[in-house]
Amino acid sequence: MPVLRTKLHPPAPRRRLVPRARLTDRFRDDVPRLVLVSAPAGFGKTTVLTQWLTTQQRAVAWLSLDEGDADPRRFLSHLVAALRTACPGLADHDGPAPSEAVLVGLVNDLDVTAGPTVIALDDYHVIDTAEVHDVVTFLLGNLPPQVTLALATRADPPLPLARLRARGELAELRAADLRFSPAEAGELLNDVMGVRLEPAHVAALDARTEGWAAGLQLAALAARGRDDLGEFVDAFAGSHRFVLDYLLEDVLRSQPGDVREFLLDTAVLDEFTAELCDAVTGRTDSRLMLGTLERANLFVVPLDERGQWFRYHHLFADALRAQLAAGQPDRKARLHRAAASWYADHGMTAEAVPHALTGGDAGRAADLVVLALPGLQRQRHDHLLRTLLQALPADVVRRSARLSTALAWTRLSVGDLDGVREWLDTADSVVSGDEDRAMIEVYRASVAQARDDRSGTAEHARRALDLAGPDDHFSRGAAAGFLGLAAWADGDLPTAVVTFGEAVTSLHRAGNITDELGATVVLGGMWLSCGRPDEARRLYEKALARSAGPVRSTTGDLHVGLADVLREHGELDAAEEHLRTARELGDAASLMENRHRWWIVMSGVLRARGDLDAAAEMLDRAQALYLPGYFPDVRPIPALKARVDIARGRLDDAREWARERGDPAQLTEFDHLTLGRLAVAEHRADDDLLKLLDGIVAAGRGGSVVDALIVRALARRSPDDLDEALDLGVPAGYARIFLDEGPPMTELLGRLTGSSHAAGLLRQPVARAAATEGLSSREVEVLRLLATELTGPEIARRLFVSVNTLRTHTKHIFTKLDVNTRPAAVRRATELGLLA
């Protein structure tokens, strides 16, 4: 599809432009924070913006906005795509919504990766959502100084313009500035468009059009090739008619009949190729025609470098469409239906559906979506599917069980559970065929799961399994998946891994590799719960080997899963390598419900390296991305954070967490074991705690058993308990779960002189504070980097932390070394031998 690629290119003019140095020189050297080009349609905003950009030695991140970009998530992902064309080093920044954490990350990253850059947002007036304005406002306030924002818009945006103006950070080009002066009009009419007009005629046209660029260009087209120029100018100047109407009629009249018909026919298309024009007009020579139009300057805008895709200038297209709609509504409908067919034949359902709808054929639109459904679901094109379903009239959706079921799914993804149920009821009322019934039950199971209704989940999933045929692998896979997840949530791990393993096999048979790999991520998590990091590692490695080839929407999640296991093994460099790979693959390789995991694993790596503050910060970022309801929350982020707080001695924060826990019956084993650690840290490990720990050990859920034995060993300071944990955990691949406990654990391990497991663990680096001057090992690492030539942002990037965190580190280092500058810190550290 040409859509995204063409959005990221500033239009490249094929003809000579009238130089407008009087405008572009105004802020050529002194570039403000915001360049605002604000004027009505047809004033040449985009052109002057591209002219200004050519005066700048700056990278350009260009984004032509359309109505869809009012969706904040889509806006941000397009903005990041545009920025990545300008600064290739930029990582992918995305989230379920552009949260402050995501934007801070983006700005910090730009601080480091971007050279002098202009972010140019064209057609900003199409944005009508406060969320997107908030994002842009944030950027205006926080972009690094070398990055400038430029907006072209038909209406002043609701941004803090007055504040920027007062600070001298705003440069504006408005309609009055953009109006062509008589001299510029002369250059456009005579030199560029090749009309021979006397100065008096130029002045008259400039006055009548009020220097409006589109009007002047139309006037040139209308005047071209006439011998009665004086009469033409006088008649136009003496008319009251709207400039656009008067001139467009003149221009169309002066064209041969077939050109005129071609323009009216193809104006229904937002973007077009010669082939598409052929299909819509019934002609066979559209390529020649487009060449003619381009040479005649008839408002054709090329959209790609290969000269395949075009569009008309918006103003011109609107005027043509208004004429067509008023004069020949039947013809308009027929043209739209022809466009729908062409797009459908070329597999471009997203474009076909709106044309079918505008062509008055909602039934066809619905059929197109039904046909596209399996592919869209298999490839997880969730956003597109949602857009298409929302475009269909509700009564048409209601007539189709498949569409109603799919619409129910879109409600599920925004958490509207009542909406899901209503649409599933609708689907039930029109369904025929067990395959569709099975699918409805699958979604009912989803709702039950989201409502935390475990028995309901299992019941619907079982019904789906009964209804699904032996070859209906998708429903079978999904239903087995729910049963597996329900067993996991119930703590029945043996059933969970077997059933969920069947789900993975069904998805494999369904040819749904993306979901198969996605389910493998979950299955790996189950094996971790079972206390088998080794088995999880085997699964991840096998799946990654299978995922070779195109990057899938779950490839990154597999890397993150593997990184987590490697971290547990203590192979921290390898873990970081996989995290880096996942980051480079970007959001396209990660499902939304998994995005938080990257930060959790990074937190674990940082904790293992002894940087507890950064580990805590990573957990905050994980929390911002966490989407509840997808998987049993067996390792809640707040509990992880409490564990870090306990480790860094912030017991008040951990107590705060403990107070906020509600009903003890709702607590996971992980929560209980976190509370247990808090009790040990507060020296109040009592019989109740020991009884609870014994209960967890007896329940026999592998991962928790190892964890409970560790807490018991710490509570009783008992090497024997530890010995048991080691025998169970180390062969299964555990290491960090022991070592992250720090000095009390190393002391216990040291006492187990006969244990080869203990000796093996003690050979690994243990998280502990550096002895010298009370600097942590992370701070020493920062100090070493401060001694290099690297800039602050470069150091932050190397350490995978934000500039803010780096600032905190340096502040601590300065305090501990009793200095207040970087060179002084390096000097002092050298004296103390810390950099040796």
Binding site: P40, A41, G42, H125, R154, A155, W212, A214, S239, H240, R241, F242, V243, L244, D245, E249, H314, L315, D318, A319, R321, A322, Q323, A325, A326, G327
Partner: protein, 79 residues
């Protein structure tokens, strides 16, 4: 309850814009302006019409409500 607005723009607009802008009554005045009359259900619809005029480059001269009914509050807003 619909509210009716009169919108005056510069120049004489052709009839085909009436349908394009959602079926407005369109009167060309002798002073070279055009008055469009729109019955809208809410402000969002009014803003949609204004955006449509903006997008074809029409110059807005005046906007006021022409409702006869109750109350005089905010009956007329001239620019």
């Amino acid at each position: 309850m619909k509210t009716t607005y009169a919108i005056r723009v510069a120049g004489h607009l052709d009839d085909h814009w009436s349908g394009w802008l959602g079926g407005l009554a369109l009167v060309r005045n002798s002073d070279g302006t055009t008055t469009l009359t729109a019955a809208v259900t809410d402000q969002a619809q009014l803003h949609g019409i204004l955006a449509g005029l903006r997008d074809v480059g029409a110059t807005l001269l005046e906007l006021h409500s022409v409702d006869q009914g109750s109350g005089g509050q905010g009956r007329s807003k001239r620019s």
